[in-house]
Amino acid sequence: MLTKRLIACFDIKNGMVTKAQRFQDNIEIDPAEKVALRVYEEQIDEVIFYDITASSEKRCIDLDTVKRVAKLIYIPFTVGGGIKTLDDMYSVLKSGAEKISIDSMAVRNPELIREGSLAFGRQCIVLSMQVKKVPVTDKIKSGYEIAIDGARVMTGMDAVEWAKRGEGLGAGEICVNSIDRDGTMSGYDLDITAMICDAVNIPVIASGGAGEPEHLEDVFNKTQSSAAIISSLLYSPRMDRNYSVRELKEYLQGRGVHVRPWKDTVGNK
């Protein structure tokens, strides 16, 4: 049986991992390689890097950091931030990542999803969406609107409709980032996560708000999400305590969530 994935997500700025709250006030933690190696050794299932200022600084993604990290971790590795063209995607893949996350650029140019999917395969394209709870209107029937550019610009697009369209264009996975919950440690937004899981047939990744192991249990047991993003739980200095991947996995196993078990002798017999 396929297991639920725990994905460690890092916001990278100048080669350093940083931690934001509601997409703002980033504080520096540690060099990207150090944090990536730590979670790899702890047997995290997957890693995502966002080069958070690539887009606003109008530059290409920090490929040197991607290359250095790709040589340290032998698990799936997704990279996003400022990716505008097929050439950008190819450079990221060539640097050792195997999935590309596109977000604001996909809203500006939805064909990017289709082009990337045709060129590199659906499995390479993660459509990441910044969603914000808003009053239900004729246009925004789900009550969740898509924002772009680090949650600064609202688009008037309905989140569920955008997810469906993204799947139709060729996205391989959808990552649902709740702007309201980002860095708040108050739990995932289960409503929009569940709505999008019901609307599409590709894997959905829940993101934004995990601050307690219970939040992971909730998102896996109360929605059909295939994966959940964690960052504060693992390494935020704003937390009272951080958790190891092992603690989180063992907690989830104890509550009936099927995860890849932590092992102490993996591959070394």
Partner: protein, 211 residues
């Protein structure tokens, strides 16, 4: 030297990174004459069966692979689509494949849930084999696939997994090995398989069976 077949759009670099971390010499190869000098071959797979077959054909590698792997017994390891193209035919794009192993490649149906399958799934090894030496009888590996192989001969099934139907997640027949999962992205268990594959290749060289 292990040759990792490079067909541009693939994830060959990740395989090279993993081998290099293990201290195993390997290089990216896309020319037939270079491929013919390999001690072992890895065919990483990304994209579709059709694209993979087209690339192999365009690069003129199919005949060379047939010579070194099937006639001369050079160890071969296919990954993901690199497993699927070993069979007779794939439903994906109605693609004629290599016919090294008898069987069909089918698409996951409605009973499989979300497609593609993306994530860590359990592989149950069916028998002891040098390729999976040192691993537990069941272990978890990282999969990304919408299609799965149905071998005609059950004895080639080295590993089984479930995603809706039970399917062949690892195959072995003589010097031909393949995994549906991404060996190079499956953490320390995946690295162990790569190390075992290199050991199989080295043993063959040490025994002097190289033509």
């Amino acid at each position: 030297m292990i040759s990792v077949i490079d067909y541009k759009a693939g994830n060959s670099q990740s395989v090279i990174n993993a081998l290099s971390k293990l201290g195993i010499e390997a290089k990216l190869v896309s020319a037939s004459d270079e491929l013919s000098r390999s001690d072992a071959v890895i065919l990483p797979g990304v994209g579709s069966a059709g694209e993979t077959m087209n690339s192999l054909r365009e690069l003129g590698l199919i005949e060379t692979l047939d010579d070194i792997v099937r006639k001369n017994g050079v160890p071969f390891l296919g990954i993901c689509v690199g497993l699927q193209v070993l069979f007779d035919h794939s439903e994906e794009g109605d693609t004629e494949c290599l016919h090294w192993l008898g069987g069909q490649v089918r698409r996951f149906g409605k009973d499989s849930g979300r497609v593609p399958q993306i994530g860590w799934n359990e592989v149950r090894f069916q028998y002891e084999h040098p390729l999976v030496a040192g691993l537990d009888k069941c272990d978890f590996f990282y999969f990304v696939n919408s299609y799965y192989a149905v071998p005609e001969d059950g004895s080639v099934i080295l590993g089984r997994s479930d995603y809706g139907p039970e399917y062949c997640s690892m195959a072995a027949s003589g010097n031909i090995f393949a995994a549906q999962f991404h060996i190079e992205k499956s953490g320390e268990s995946g690295l162990r398989i790569l190390r075992n594959f290199a050991a199989i290749a080295n043993k063959r060289i040490a025994e002097g069976s190289v033509c």
